[in-house]
Amino acid sequence: MSGYTLQDSPLAVPVLEPEVDKATPWNVIVMNDPVNLMNYVVYVFQTVFGYTKQKATRHMLEVHEQGKSLVWSGDFEKAEAFVYTLQQWQLTATLESAEGE
């Protein structure tokens, strides 16, 4: 991600606005934690993303064994909404630009 832009009109009060490259694909990453139960995490992936039990279990095992799993990739707004939903379900979820891979 880049830095910040300043509104440069002499009459305007400078406002710092974060600049997000929304065109780039974004990855939704779920991080491991020692608290959430395996069957719960599988259920959350099935419910939030509509994944089959097999696919949800694969992602859960990836989180458990490798510390994190890329669970979804796509446009910024949708990715951000998924992260919010996963946090509502008490999972540790982050958003990363796919460009940095």
């Binding site: 991080m31 719960y40 951000e80 919010y84 008490q90």
Partner: protein, 148 residues
């Protein structure tokens, strides 16, 4: 309507109600976010407040569930939305306990609990029992949700 049956001795049920009430009071103002937060300050506020409201609603559902007449003995009827809230609340409280009273317990011990974990933790033992009971409630709720 989905049903959840939790089998517990009445003394354990009373203990759980008492402990949860105390934990909820300490959780009221907690708005901790685990992971991503939007960059803009106003978006962050909206994000954190939204999650806090959701947590409070879920905690309320858990408390009502535990206080319901049939809890610990018979099946408790619960709406689908409340079932989701119940699952979320169990995780919310367990995460809170892990980050506070169980902070010095190793990840390995938390992921693979043993009877020694409950018996030899001194002042932490009550918290550990609540932590384990919530895992039992959540697992049972996940099973009920999976049948829908």
């Amino acid at each position: 309507m989905p049903t959840v049956r939790i089998k517990l001795d009445s003394s354990v049920t009373a203990f759980l109600k008492r402990m949860l009430q105390g934990i909820f009071e300490s959780l009221q103002e907690s708005g901790r976010v685990r992971g991503y937060l939007p960059e803009a300050e106003e978006d962050q506020e909206f994000w954190v407040e939204g999650l806090r409201d959701e947590n409070l609603e879920a905690l309320d559902t858990l408390l009502n569930f535990v206080k319901s007449e049939n809890f610990g003995r018979r099946k408790v009827e619960i709406s689908e939305d409340s079932l989701f809230s119940l699952m979320k609340a169990c995780s919310c409280v367990r995460l809170h306990l892990r980050e506070t009273a169980l902070l010095d317990v190793s990840d390995e011990e938390l992921e693979n609990p043993s009877i020694e974990s409950v018996l030899f933790k001194g002042p932490q033992s009550e918290v550990y029992v609540v932590y384990s009971l919530l895992a039992y409630i959540q697992s049972t709720a996940v099973e009920a949700a999976s049948r829908l």
